[in-house]
């Protein structure tokens, strides 16, 4: 059962426009959400995160929005740059004991930013 879902395997945008990457989750014990960026042959690198007590977190060109009632989060990149082309993974972590603490990942979305 996939607890973190990224339903768009790929997304293509023009340089300078907005990129919106979406993520849905099913586990209500998740209370911390992260986006990781991954280039080929490299490990994922942390991009931005958000706690469930917030609905928005911004860092430069990157903004993450969280809609807890819909169990949905999104990553906005404005403006998009060719160097942003990578696979973006949504990940979630929870509290409340058991194995919820560990990062659970979605399958990723390949973002291509065209010059």
């Amino acid at each position: 059962d996939q607890q973190v879902k990224q339903n768009s395997p790929s997304l293509s945008v023009q340089e300078g426009r907005i990129s919106i990457l979406n993520c849905d989750y099913t586990n209500s014990m998740f209370d911390y959400f992260l986006w990781y960026k991954k280039y080929p042959a490299e490990g994922p690198t942390f991009l931005i995160s958000i706690s469930s007590i917030k609905d928005k977190n911004e860092d430069g060109r990157f903004t993450v929005f969280l809609n807890k009632s819909a169990k949905h989060l999104s990553l906005h990149i404005v403006p998009s740059q060719p160097g942003d082309s990578a696979v973006y993974f949504c990940a979630a972590s929870g509290s409340g004991g058991g194995s919820n603490y560990k990062l659970t990942f979605g399958k990723g979305t390949l973002l291509t930013v065209n010059p």
Binding site: G43, P44, T45, S51, S99, Y101, K102, L103, G108
Partner: protein, 117 residues
């Protein structure tokens, strides 16, 4: 150092052979995690350590996989009698905290690509 170092980068093994992967976590990080990524799909959790102690091994295939984190040595993930289905990229991550919070997300290594032929 400030990076998680994984070796080797690539490993090719014949079916039935043993494979051993290494991970040097960031100094000062108490937690180490191993993930398996098959065919560029989602990351499957294998095992976590708190220092040299196994914290959670719920993701480990019971029979052929084992892992250790010994003091003053890189952590290791060993697969006995590899199978074709073990072909994947194995990522190690380390963290100050058990659960990622605030800026303390997991820091990942660049992975070891295991190919079983």
């Amino acid at each position: 150092g400030e990076e998680v170092a994984q070796t080797p980068k690539h490993l090719v093994r014949g079916e039935g052979q043993k494979a051993k992967l290494y991970c040097a976590p960031i100094k000062g990080h108490s937690y180490v995690f191993w993930y398996q990524q098959v065919l560029k799909n989602e990351f499957k959790f294998l095992i976590s350590f708190q220092n040299e102690n196994v914290f959670d091994e719920t993701g480990m295939p019971k029979e052929r996989f084992s892992a250790k984190c010994l003091p003053n040595s890189p952590c290791s993930l060993e697969i006995q009698a590899t199978k074709l289905e073990d072909s994947a990229v194995y990522f190690c991550a380390s963290s100050l905290l058990l659960a990622p919070r605030m800026v303390y997300g997991y820091t990942f290594g660049s992975g070891t690509r295991l190919t079983v032929v």
